[in-house]
Structure formats: C-alpha cells, structure tokens
Assembly symmetry: C2
Homo-oligomer: 222 residues x 2
C-alpha cells in the first residue's frame, strides 16, 4: 500500500499529544483528543500498549474521525493497525516505533514513502544506528525521557534538558522531546533545539485537558 | 504488498504445529520446529504473545530459514510482523488471527490475495460472522478449544469432539481443531470433519518433540 501524497502531514513540530489509553481511559479518550486539537495541538499519537489490535484500531479510527484534517494522526507501535485504519479509509498519517517494534527500515517499506515514520531514541548508540539508515526512512525522533515520567516508570535515568540538547545536536532529524515535560520546560527545550514536545499525562491526565493543552501551545509559541 | 502466487502453500491440513514461545522457550524454539517438520508436520505457526514485535520477527524469520520450503509458515496475530518478514524476503505464508486482532477483511487487504488468512472461531455466532465475509477473505478456521488446554487456561468451556463436529458441519471452510488435543483424539477428530489438528504443548512441551510429532502425524494418517 502507499499513502497518498495529498494526505501527508508535515513532520511533527510544536506540541505533540500522546493520547495514551492508560492515562485517558476509554470513556474520555476521544473527547480529550478533541479538546487538545481545539486548543491548537497539531499532532496526536494514539497509544494503547495494553489493548488488543481491535481496540487500538477502534481508538485510532475514532480519533481520525474526530480530528479530521485538523491534526496529524500517528499510531504508536502497531504498523498493522495503522495499515488497517488506512485500508478502511481513515485519515491517518504515520507510525511511531519504539526500539522493540518492527525495525524502521521494514516499517518504511510497509507504510510507503508518504507516511510519517517516527522512532524513539535515547542513547548516542541508537542515534548512530538511525543515522546509518537509508535517507528518508525515518522522519523524526522521539527523544527522552527528559524527566521522570509516570507513564514510563521503567525508563532509564532521565536525560535532562542538557542531555537532550546534546542528542539533538548530534542528528539532522527533527527531535520531539518527551517524558515528564510541563509547560514551564518548553522555552528551554525549544532553545535546546527540540522541534517539538510530546506530552501524555500533562494533557491526558489534566482535569481540564483543553486548558492544559492551551497552556502548552502558548508556552511553545508560534 | 502482494505475496507471490508461487510462494503460496495449500490451506493447512493434517498436523499443524503452533510453536508457542511460552511453551518452547527461546533456546529450543527453532530446534523444536525443525524436529516437528522433520517428523512430517507441514504447517508451523509462530506464536509469541508476550514478545515484542522485534522478537516475534526474529522468531518468524528464524523459523522460515529453518524450514525452507518444507512447511507452510503462519504468523500468529501480528499482520505487521508477517508483512515485515515478507518484506525482508523470508518465506512466510500467512497469518492466523484471533477475535481481537485486526479484522480479517482488513487483514486480507494488507496481506494480498495469495497469503493464507486463518481465523479462530468457537461459537455459532462467530461462524455466522465469518460466513458473511467476502468469499476468499478467510482460508481456514482454527476451532476450539476441543479440550482444556494449559496454553489457553482462560478459554470458555471446551467444545468436545461432538461440539467441534457440529461447528465443522456449519461451514464450508476447512477447520483445524485446536486445544488440548493428543494423538489418541485424532481419528475421532478426523471423523468429525476436521481438516487438521493444531497442537502446541503436545509437541512443544514434549521431551522428544520429534517422536511426539511423529506419533501425531501417524495417528492423523495419510
């Protein structure tokens, strides 16, 4: 399959909302996404590490319907769920892969040239490996954790903003900082070279998801 | 993507080995598969429900290399792992989907017309739903559990051979019986209309995997 050129969204930048089922829950998942997008978030990743493929496909399809063409929609981990949603004509734009998912070079062959492929990376060795992939294979990196984060408690020691900056400086790919980020961190992360910031709990765990998203979008700036 | 016609294997029949990582373990996984195929097993499914996609891809690729063209190789659950292995030129032939995986009608679009698509089913309602799918969408059904099984302890009440026969009689699709099956059951299952029998523990959990597989192949008959 190939994703149509016209469907392609720009590489993620600014505030990137990781809509995590474990944070948002079933009942408010789509509503939280809707509020985040209404507040100016332009990239939404659907993450449901504990859900079946069928549930992940339902969430992804529901998010795609809810945001229409107002945001880039990325599927976490599951290339097949992304492909299935696309085959069912949902407006979805790419996949985000961890270090233990289908390798990026194979995922790129499966999703076609026009889909977005993001990869998580947090060590100089992983950055080196990604730099050696064919050009165009990976579109952006998710880099973290910047700070301790409740959604990924098993992560190694956080990078801090300085550590993040060193990694960002070592690649030509746009880097989305992730991990325990709050609004106050955004100016320093932007100065450190991040192309954007990904948050899960800061929006998905907020009582007022719209307000929380708005503060992040404002703190990042135009 | 499409799977080449020349790569296609016949619909599974006879003894179908579900090589389950939780039963076989890492160290002997490929060796157990090799012994099963040497004993006459002609279908091998790679099942690793707890493994990352990267590990599942490694297992699938290793099994494909080990069996060459001597057996049909089916991936459990993960359409993306199947597609990735195929994109990496491994000789793999299809996917087996549970009721909570990517829906068969979408999976068929992703794997192409020539790959094998199997689906698990165990209730009359599920059989009805599958009968209503487009012709050619599903190639065979995995039907069970016939008996209590250690690898799926959360299953509903087992069908028994009579219950299996009633389901088999309700469909035109070939049915592979699964769930706690031992060599002594094979003649009755064949008389009940099963096209084949799938086993996990009976081969993967045996001290002598080759001998266990041989007994099953013999009990099934030519």
């Amino acid at each position: 399959m190939t994703v149509e050129l016209s469907d392609r969204r720009p590489t993620p930048s600014g505030v990137y909302f990781v809509a995590d089922h474990a944070v948002c829950g079933d009942g408010r998942f789509v509503e939280v996404v809707r509020q985040a997008v209404a507040a100016g978030v332009r990239t939404v990743q659907v993450r449901d590490k504990l859900g079946s493929a069928a549930r992940q496909l339902e969430l992804l399809s529901a998010v795609a319907r809810a945001v229409g063409d107002r945001a880039t929609v990325i599927m976490n981990d599951r290339v097949d769920v992304f492909l299935a949603a696309h085959a069912a004509h949902a407006l979805v734009h790419g996949v985000h892969l961890g270090q233990h998912d289908v390798p990026a070079v194979l995922a790129r062959r499966l999703v076609g040239a026009e889909a977005i492929v993001g990869v998580s990376a947090q060590t100089p060795q992983q950055f080196d490996e990604i730099e050696r992939l064919p050009p165009g294979c990976v579109d952006y990196l998710g880099v973290g954790a910047v700070r301790e984060t409740p959604t990924k408690p098993d992560h190694p020691a956080p990078l801090g903003i300085e550590g993040l900056g060193a990694l960002v400086a070592s690649t030509t790919l746009p880097c989305i900082a992730i991990g325990g980020i709050e609004a106050d961190d955004l100016p320093a992360l932007r100065r450190a070279g991040a192309a954007g910031v990904a948050v899960a709990s800061a929006i998905g765990g907020a009582d007022d998801a719209h307000g929380a998203a708005r503060r992040l979008v404002t703190a990042w700036g135009p």
